[in-house]
Subunit: 251 residues, 2 copies
DNA sequence: GAGTGGTCTAGACCACGAT
DNA sequence: TCGTGGTCTAGACCACTCG
């Protein structure tokens, strides 16, 4: 049986503390942070731990600066973490919007070809399909078509109705979702999409197709989510990395 | 004057070696890698260095597995890196497509309100606007509307015409682009979009708005890129991280 | 219980930016 | 020249998985 994840490690708590100093405005945009050595001694942790925390903040785009330069708060940094690809309800709350939902369908069905492929199931295997309309401040914002493998879906087929966060709901039952792969594109609203989201047929929708994996690396959910692009978008950071030639590696 | 980035560090070369063992099929999907300790001794580096390399591969979704489990090659792992948000031409080549382009306009203009905001310029400031149609195997695939701050744009206003990679072109002139922030949504094709991309007005397009920063953290480019969603999409990995309560941090 | 990865420490050297 | 962050090492302890 899986157990609860333990208490947050040191570097995660430090990360949270630093993040809050930025979001509360104690460290404003353009401010240089104390050096890594100074943070080490202030918090009584090693420099390695400080660097783990700073790396996360850099990945989120809150900080920039490199060798020889102190880490600096990016101007235009979001005061809310707004980290990429949070679950819908969490994301909504961080944006100060009120998440809501209506479950339109929850049933055991034959998996679609796409779902079979993503979930590594044989053709014609059964899954639990859940169709949910997600709301922001009471307005339709996203249509979520999820397929769960049976041994996970069986928890959802009935009693999930009122549940806001499926991730938490499953966590309480010993299933820990760990990672996800997302593919993002745009698609014209189908007849059904249009009716449920309240837009014209053919209107542009932002589509996210997602495969979620449990802690054992097994795919457990495949989902096709269609967002109204006027209400929602995705935010991503990256850093440019030069290519590494594969020259005579390993003698 | 900025100098060239030095030779790749050890952990990057190790990362490249491991990646190639996966992409060449030497380590197939489902295979468990040697333990971190074994990799340490095989390559004669410390465990910390091995972990730096493995972290990158995990972030790309090539590996999974955690405490107590050996790192394992994800099934369905792309043999090509297909890392998120590469420059267009590099991305195309990794997909075995032939990138092309036509520069439709390059001129010094007053910046749009959006560009001013992203580039942190005063209202009415001037920028160099470049409009490029990007092709895949000769077919229109993306429309790129970039605005560069003047001291970068001046390199581009004339002689860039044949340049495939603006990043490399600027690097040769001492300007190193370091990081970028992306916002992704969907939008209906405007009249101009439709004509240039060869689709109907109102057709759904995948839009990426990008702000690119140089190594000093200064925004140097703002771009609005519109992709044909049939030819292109974005691929993103993430890992679920529990929230960290901010309880009495720091005495 | 043995093996493994996650975390954390302490220290070192170097490349780079600022002065 | 000096301070800084990037890299790398060596070693330790613990939580977790697996047989």
């Amino acid at each position: 049986m899986s157990s609860q994840p333990g208490p947050p490690p040191l570097h995660r708590k430090l990360e949270a503390e630093l993040r809050s100093r930025i979001s509360t405005g104690r460290w404003r945009a353009g401010t240089s942070l104390p050096s890594e050595a100074a943070l080490s001694s202030e918090f009584g942790v090693s420099r390695g731990t400080v660097r783990q925390a700073l790396t996360s903040l850099r990945d989120e785009g809150l900080l920039f600066g490199g060798r020889g330069r102190r880490p600096t708060v990016r101007s235009g940094a979001k005061s809310q973490p707004l980290s990429t690809f949070l679950p819908f309800a969490e994301w909504a709350r961080q944006e100060n919007l009120n998440p809501g939902q209506r479950t339109l369908e929850a049933a055991r069905r034959e998996a679609s070809a796409e779902a079979c492929c993503a979930l590594e199931l044989p053709d014609g295997a059964f899954v639990v399909n859940i169709l949910r309309l997600r709301l922001l401040d009471g307005e339709a914002a996203m249509l979520e078509r999820s397929s769960f493998v049976l041994d996970v879906g069986r928890y959802l087929a009935d009693s999930h109705a009122g549940t806001e966060s499926i991730v938490e709901f499953l966590g309480e039952r010993g299933i820990w979702l760990e990672s996800a792969h997302h593919t993002v594109d745009a698609i014209a609203a189908s007849t059904a999409d249009a009716q449920l989201l309240g837009v014209d047929i053919g209107a542009p929708l932002l589509r996210e197709r997602r495969t979620t994996y449990d802690s054992g690396g097994r795919p457990v959910e495949y989902s096709d989510d269609r967002y109204l692009p006027t209400l929602t978008n995705f935010s991503i950071e990256n850093r440019v990395r030069g290519p590494v030639p594969l020259t005579g590696q390993r003698a």
